[in-house]
């Protein structure tokens, strides 16, 4: 069954057509360019932009996914269900996607599947191209880690429907911490890629040894606000010229602190749960250095490791479609689509 998926949880307007784990189309209308001047997600613009772009993005996803040059009715005829992100995310942004999904479902008499954005990030690791490659089978259970601007969560995926969050951040997400460190140093949004470049340039050295929050705690919780404070304090009194001179090393050390915590906590979770397959999704895993660390960890712990394609690390609708496919196999459709509402703090 082909699924048309929509995601408007934050600053991406996204739509995709998937069949099983195969991605037939994946369209993003990235708003990064629009946001950059203000240094972050710009909420009202995001809502307006979602509203302005969603129809065109959906149309493009259908054109690429089921063939262009045909009427919308014909295209929707090939679609079995409409999937949409219900949360977590920004309420006013989520609303746009949900409204669009409801309208499409009603107009073309399709069932609706409500998807948790976080499940999407986990399923991004299992995506296949149009030809069904790579063709490894899904073999539950997995340990999942979502590491993005808005989330840092360790999840045990028992099967297609059963998730258990075993660790999450108590305050800031890992990606948010990186963004804020970049901003403290006067760099633009998004901060992650800039930090990656600067850290690369100094060989990922860790000259400053910033604190590794929660590393010695016995649970699987994360906390990055203390690290942010330590960093703030460290650079606060520094003259601008010195800050600039030390910029790559400061940010490299900051990145090392964040990554060390991610790796160590994941290692602890693997040992505790005794799971042998690890899936890491979310925007921060676009970082090549972090991928290296996870590969090392997987070798060391003797586990299988799954990453999304780089193009699927950030928010996208293809991952929502893949997660929706699992729900559809278990007939988990929304019983009353008209009553479907966004849940901004939806948990897994």
């Amino acid at each position: 069954m082909k699924i048309l998926a929509i995601d408007t949880s934050a600053d991406e307007t996204a739509s995709a057509v998937v069949e099983g784990r195969r991605i037939l189309s994946n369209v993003l209308y990235s708003q990064i360019e629009l946001h950059r001047p203000w240094g972050g997600i710009y909420p009202a613009l995001a809502k307006r932009a979602h509203e302005q772009r969603i129809d065109a993005v959906v149309k493009k996803a259908l054109d690429r996914g089921v063939g262009a040059g045909r009427s919308m009715t014909k295209q929707m005829g090939e679609i079995g269900a409409v999937a949409v992100t219900q949360g977590p995310g920004l309420a006013v942004a989520l609303e746009v996607g949900i409204k669009t999904a409801k309208t499409l479902a009603q107009t073309y008499a399709k069932p609706v599947i409500a998807v948790n954005h976080l499940a999407g990030h986990l399923y991004s690791c299992f995506a296949q191209n149009r030809n069904g490659k790579p063709d490894f089978p899904l073999r539950f259970p997995y340990l999942g880690l979502i590491v993005s601007g808005g989330h840092t969560e360790l999840v045990v995926m028992r099967d297609e429907l059963k998730y258990e969050v075993v660790g999450q951040t108590r305050d800031d997400a890992a990606g948010e911490a990186l963004d804020k460190a970049a901003k403290l140093m006067g760099l633009g949004y998004p901060g992650g890629p800039v930090i990656e470049r600067l850290a690369d340039s100094v060989g990922h050295q860790d000259q400053y040894r910033f604190p590794r929050p929660m590393l010695n705690a016995r649970d699987l919780s994360f906390s990055f606000s203390g690290l942010k404070t330590a960093f703030y304090y460290f650079v606060k009194e520094m003259p601008a010229s010195e800050k600039n001179r030390r910029l790559p090393h400061l940010l490299s050390s900051f990145q090392e602190a964040v990554f060390t915590v991610l790796i160590k906590k994941t290692q602890l979770a693997l040992r505790r749960t005794k799971l042998t397959r690890l899936a890491v999704g979310g925007g921060v895993i676009a970082n090549r250095h972090l991928r290296r660390y996870f590969r090392q960890l997987a070798r060391q712990e003797g586990v299988e490791l799954y990453f999304p394609y780089k193009s699927l690390t950030g928010d996208n609708a293809a991952m929502i479609g893949i997660a929706a496919g699992c729900l559809a196999r278990h007939s988990r459709f929304v019983t009353d689509p008209a009553a479907l509402d966004r849940v901004p703090r939806l948990a897994l």
């Binding site: 949880s9 934050a10 203000w38 240094g39 972050g40 997600i41 710009y42 909420p43 009202a44 613009l45 809502k47 307006r48 977590p88 995310g89 920004l90 309420a91 006013v92 942004a93 993005s148 601007g149 808005g150 999450q168 951040t169 108590r170 305050d171 800031d172 997400a173 990606g175 948010e176 804020k180 901003k183 403290l184 006067g186 606000s225 942010k228 404070t229 330590a230 960093f231 703030y232 304090y233 601008a240 901004p344 703090r345 948990a347």
Partner: protein, 359 residues
């Protein structure tokens, strides 16, 4: 043609240098401040002050307050006794103008006829740096003509003046539109009793200060603060405006507010701007946690669903509350109970929480 430079983070020192040069020549500089655009001139330079009063059409005898860079400069300009000192420590730096007996170090035209002087020690890094580097107090009057409204954007403002007036302005520093905040609260400390001369957005009367030495303590303070307000939520929302530097503990405070009503999974809403939590509590039905970190333009505040969130039995927490300057009137219209919380770093672990609420 007035010389105008645009402010951007990267070249703030260049902006300051340009402003310094203009001030040294006795020029008048239009400059962003914590309230509106201000007219800055050397308060110790008679010619500079004359140019300023000519521009403002300021009637003689109407005093003008001054920005100081720190406590040291403040004490050089005004006399402070022990009880006044205690009051000042509670208020400054902050959005106040404090009137104290002048030491006659500034041009007498800006002092009051009784020999007092209004001083402003504010929390606005750009002004603080400028005054510090200049080394003398600068006038702190808003960039408007006497009797007309303060200016929150400068581009249209400047061009409106006749050339003769324009010629009196040496430099305009354009920081774009500023959040609309009311002028500072003016407090006269020269008499027996503290007297509020002009009511701004802030009121010192009910302010309290707490010291916290751990995130746990900050949460406990938040919980304690929330309780008495909950009972009042039946007539309008309870709104906490929490400001403070990055990492000061704003989210921790919000977590404490959440715990007070049984919500224990509050996390930073920076990435999504806002998170809503359903609440099971006899008095509160919903907690909405906003982070205005990414919001720069007041137009955009209208589209965040804030107005809809301002309902009785709702509890709201805003991080970077001061950016919500424009929201204050919205809050008032919805009969909100406002609580201001400012969190400051004292050292690595200690935070000072200054809490005030309008009576």
């Amino acid at each position: 043609m007035i010389r105008t430079i645009k402010l951007s983070d990267s070249d703030s020192q260049k902006v300051i240098d340009t402003a310094l040069a203009c001030l040294r020549r006795g020029g008048v500089v239009v400059f962003p401040s914590d309230t509106a655009y201000g007219l800055l001139a050397d308060a110790t330079n008679l010619q500079a002050v004359k140019t300023l009063t000519r521009f403002k059409d300021r009637p003689a005898g109407k005093p003008i307050s001054v920005f100081v860079s720190d406590w040291k400069m403040l004490r050089e300009l005004v006399k402070v006794d022990a009880s006044q000192e205690a009051t000042l420590r509670r208020l400054l730096p902050g959005p106040f103008t404090v009137i104290l007996p002048s030491r006659r170090r500034v041009v007498s035209a800006i002092e009051s006829q009784t020999g007092s002087l209004g001083v402003r020690l504010i929390r606005f890094p750009l002004i603080n740096r400028l005054v510090k580097q200049y080394g003398q107090p600068l006038t702190a009057t808003s960039a408007n003509l006497s009797g007309s409204a303060p200016r929150y954007r400068i581009d249209t403002f400047v061009r409106r003046f006749p050339e003769k007036k324009q010629a009196l302005i040496g430099l305009v520093v354009d920081a774009g539109p500023l959040p609309r905040r009311r002028p500072s609260t003016v407090i006269d400390l020269t008499g027996e009793k503290l007297q509020i001369i002009r009511q701004g957005d802030w009121q010192p009367a009910s302010s309290k200060t707490y010291l916290s030495r751990s995130p746990g303590a900050t949460k406990a303070i938040a919980k304690k603060l929330v309780d008495p307000f909950l009972a009042r939520s039946s007539t309008g929302p309870v709104v906490f405006l929490v400001s403070g530097a990055l990492g000061a503990g704003k989210t921790v405070f919000a977590q404490g507010v959440g715990e007070a009503v049984g919500v224990d999974n509050v996390v930073s809403p920076t990435f999504t701007v806002a998170y809503e939590y359903p609440v099971r509590h006899p008095l509160i039905s919903r907690l909405i946690h906003f982070d205005l970190y990414h919001v720069r333009h007041h137009d955009e505040l209208e589209h965040l669903g804030i107005k809809a969130a301002l309902q009785p039995h709702h509890l709201l927490v805003f991080e970077w509350g001061e950016k919500g300057g424009d929201l204050l009137s919205v809050f008032q219209k919805q009969n909100s109970r406002l609580v201001y919380v400012e969190i400051q770093y004292v050292d690595g672990v200690t935070r000072k929480l200054s809490v005030s609420c309008r009576l």
